[in-house]
């Protein structure tokens, strides 16, 4: 134990809110102005506690008969031995006392790319979004070319992207102290690009290898990518926090989103898949697996009968469309 001593007021999440140096023991703590460390806390007494050295060379907090006492790990203590990691509470104030010889943690490796903050990622994100909007409008708009369609496509995607990353920046400002808007915009744009690429790859693979399941459940891949985006947003907000916890949150979000899609599909259409059948059509050169014969198709269709007949057995709930027939003259 060596002087000077540092008394630290901690926030609930462990961050230091206020730190004061005291050169010698004992350290008197309380609301009163004759203390060494003054507490701005209405739930503490004028002379609340005192910190003294004990026989073993450690430090001790002694309650001076206050109403709310000294609380450590939820228990009130009249006398509490403390070290540099002990957090105790007086009234509503969490305190920690460290000595000059307290050994701090090793220097962390800096993994933050400091040049990739602010304008560069923001501009890259914007360019990615604009390109994506233009490309998808170009591909899907097969009618007469109208520049207004491209304009609305770009504006639409940009507003969604800006709103999304703006929201994350706000959360970042609240919990991380800075906005990091550029980073969030870049994450959003990259996520959208990855979604687009994934959906193209799914379609191509489904067409090439007759893998209809890929497009039937394509929305779940998009949900997985969105969950991945959330992970990166969270890491951006707090790079020091345990990443495993963020990963857990993202996986949870994925299952929630996927589950919602399955439920909505089942409720509204009576099937789990997104679509009744695959509609993707590409150039014949992309087909890899071989075609079935008409006989094989008919054979497979024959087997469908039992499934269709099975559907007849399923009774409709009360929400079925009514056979209701209005006034008629026939």
């Amino acid at each position: 134990m060596s002087a000077p001593f540092y008394i630290e007021v901690l926030a609930r999440n462990g961050e230091v809110r206020q730190r004061q140096r005291v050169d010698a023991l004992p350290i008197r703590i309380g609301q009163g102005y004759d203390n060494d460390f003054i507490l701005d806390d209405r739930h503490t007494s004028a002379h609340h506690a005192v910190i003294e050295g004990n026989e073993t060379g450690g430090l001790e907090v002694i309650d001076l008969g206050s109403r709310n006492g000294v609380v450590h790990k939820g228990k009130r203590q009249a006398r509490l031995t403390i070290d540099g990691n002990t957090v105790f509470r007086l009234g509503h104030t969490n305190l920690r006392v460290r000595t000059a010889d307290f050994s701090v943690a090793d220097e962390m490796r800096d993994t933050t790319l400091h040049y990739w903050e602010g304008l560069p990622p923001a501009l890259t994100g914007l360019v990615l979004m604009v390109l994506l909007a233009l490309l998808s409008t170009w591909v899907t708009n097969t009618e007469k070319t109208e520049s207004i369609r491209y304009a609305t496509g770009v504006v639409g995607l940009l507003s969604i992207g800006l709103l999304w990353s703006g929201g994350w920046s706000l959360v970042n400002r609240l919990f991380g102290g800075q906005t990091r808007f550029g980073r969030h915009l870049f994450i959003a744009a990259s996520g959208l690009v990855v979604m687009e690429i994934a959906s193209i790859l799914e379609s191509l693979a489904a067409y090439a290898f007759s893998l209809e399941t890929l497009t039937r459940y394509g929305s779940h891949v998009a949900v997985a990518i969105a969950a991945g985006m959330v992970y990166f947003h969270l890491v951006t907000i707090n790079p020091v926090h345990k990443r495993r916890r963020f990963a857990f949150v993202s996986v949870l979000l994925f299952f929630l989103g996927s589950g919602m899609i399955l439920i909505v599909n089942y409720q509204s259409r009576g099937r789990l898949a997104d679509e009744l059948y695959m509609s993707e059509l590409f150039s014949p050169g992309l087909r890899m697996s071989s075609d079935k014969t008409v006989d094989q198709f008919i054979a497979e269709s024959k087997q469908l009968k039992s499934i269709v007949d099975g559907e007849r057995g399923k009774m409709l709930g009360d929400d079925g469309e009514d056979d209701g027939e209005g006034d008629m003259e026939e």
């Binding site: 170009w138 591909v139 899907t140 097969t142 009618e143 007469k144 070319t145 007759s210 209809e212 509204s268 259409r269 009576g270 099937r271 679509e275 009744l276 059948y277 695959m278 509609s279 993707e280 059509l281 590409f282 150039s283 014949p284 050169g285 087909r287 697996s289 075609d291 079935k292 014969t293 008409v294 094989q296 198709f297 008919i298 497979e300 269709s301 024959k302 469908l304 009968k305 499934i307 269709v308 007949d309 559907e311 007849r312 399923k314 409709l316 929400d319 079925g320 469309e321 009514d322 056979d323 027939e325 209005g326 006034d327 008629m328 003259e329 026939e330």
Partner: protein, 433 residues
């Protein structure tokens, strides 16, 4: 299917529609023979209503006529369809020209020709008779149609007989005279009081183009009633049976019609073209589009009325050729995929049909590789009947897409598969690349 609306099948239009139809068609003044006929027939024509059991409010109305001096009345099946299919919800009632009311009991139905026989609690005066031997009608001969148009009151209207129409699947008589909603099931008689047919429908897109069910089908149904020992307990089964008969004869007739091949260059596509199945073509005239399309549509001109929400026993064939003129391979793929998408929109909340179930494959018939999707749904009320939808898209070119959609409603599973096979086997391309 959408062209079916041309034929106001079974005059089944809502009252508002009916009123607008009335605006268009003015009833001609009845001649003196019409006056004579009406005064004789008046006692034997009735209005038939189906009422909601609960509260006895009127749900639909039509007409009917008493046969001879019996208590049997003839009307259209579609007037009685609610009572046949949902006897727990609906009940029948008649009102005669004197305003007398009474209950109606359904005895027999003929869905294919749209006829029904009911019994009521009073006897006829013997004006309308259906003898075994029916003398033929001559084109241009006057016919007088009776009934209760638009629930306004009993009426008689005059028109000319104009032969047998073969556009509908079963023979119908063409009557060039006004028939309005509510007159369905009423009789059409010759000037000497002979029953020629039963009022059934009119074309909404024409003027005074109406149809009658020939009286010989009435005769056949009355004979059946005479033979039948007891009234069927569940008319749904009877209707289902008749629908199965219909699909069988429809299939027989289709299979005896040779396939016609239409050219959508460079493809050749199969269709059935006959008096019942009519085809027409279409192509895009808008030159601003970066792609072109040509289309051949064929559809049966008539469908069977089962209930207000089920019309069945129908086939429609559509072939559409998309060709890229300026689009690259990627954009053409997007266009072709979008056109192929969501062609079956039926869901799982329909009381009439089950949710559709599909088989999808890449298929080749050695002449043309295709993407083929077959979706089937079953009728909930009629076991053994299905709706088949086959969607195909050619996969032989990145610049052309031949997309076909064949919808068959109300067929047995076996016949649905037969039609599917016919269309899969017969699409071809002339010059292999």
């Amino acid at each position: 299917m959408r062209f079916k609306s041309l034929l106001a099948l079974a005059l089944c239009c809502y009252a508002t529609m009916a009123i607008s139809a009335e605006d268009k068609v003015e009833l001609p003044a009845p001649s003196s023979s019409a006056q004579r006929l009406y005064s004789h027939a008046k006692a034997d024509i009735v209005q038939l209503r189906s009422l909601l059991k609960n509260g006895r409010t009127q749900s639909s109305v039509g007409s009917g006529f008493l046969i001879g001096k019996s208590n049997l009345a003839v009307t259209n099946y579609h007037v009685m369809s609610q009572i046949a299919l949902e006897p727990d919800t609906y009940v029948g009632e008649y009102v005669d020209t004197n305003g007398k009311r009474g209950t109606v009991k359904l005895l027999a139905v003929d869905v294919l020709h749209d006829l029904a026989v009911v019994s009521i609690d009073r006897k006829g005066g013997g004006f309308f008779n259906v003898p075994d031997k029916l003398p033929p009608l001559a084109q241009g001969q006057y016919l007088y149609s009776m009934g209760n148009p638009l629930d306004l009151g009993f009426a008689i209207s005059e028109g000319a007989y104009n032969g047998i129409v073969n556009r509908s699947f079963y023979d119908q008589l063409m009557f060039t005279g006004p028939i309005n909603a509510g007159m369905s099931g009423g009789p059409s008689v010759t000037v000497d009081g002979r029953v020629a047919g039963v009022n059934v429908s009119k074309r909404l897109d024409g003027e005074l183009v109406s149809f009658l069910v020939p009286v010989r089908f009435v005769r056949d149904l009355l004979k059946k009633v005479a033979r039948q020992k007891q009234v069927p307990k569940d008319f749904k089964l009877v209707v289902g049976q008749q629908l199965l008969e219909h699909q069988k004869s429809m299939m027989d007739r289709l299979e005896h019609t040779p396939l016609t091949f239409k050219e959508l260059k460079p493809y050749k596509v199969p269709v059935w073209e006959s008096d019942q199945v009519r085809c027409w073509g279409r192509s895009n005239s808008n030159q601003n589009k970066p792609y072109s399309f040509d289309q051949v549509n064929c559809a049966m001109e008539s469908a069977l009325f089962v209930s207000n929400r089920i019309q069945t026993g129908h086939i429609s064939i559509q072939h559409k050729l998309l060709q890229s003129t300026e689009l690259g391979a990627l954009r053409f793929s997007a266009l072709a995929g979008n056109t192929f998408k969501n062609q079956d929109r039926s869901g799982n909340k329909d009381r009439r049909f089950t949710a559709p179930q599909c088989v999808e494959q890449f298929v080749t018939n050695d002449k043309l590789p295709m993407r083929a999707v077959l979706c089937v749904r079953a009728y909930r009320k009629f076991p053994g009947l299905y709706d088949f939808s086959l969607f195909t898209a050619s996969t032989d070119s990145g610049q052309m897409s031949l997309q076909s959609s064949i919808s068959t409603s109300g067929v047995s599973y076996e016949n649905g598969l037969r039609i599917t096979r016919i269309f899969l086997e017969n699409a071809s391309r002339e010059n292999q690349p």
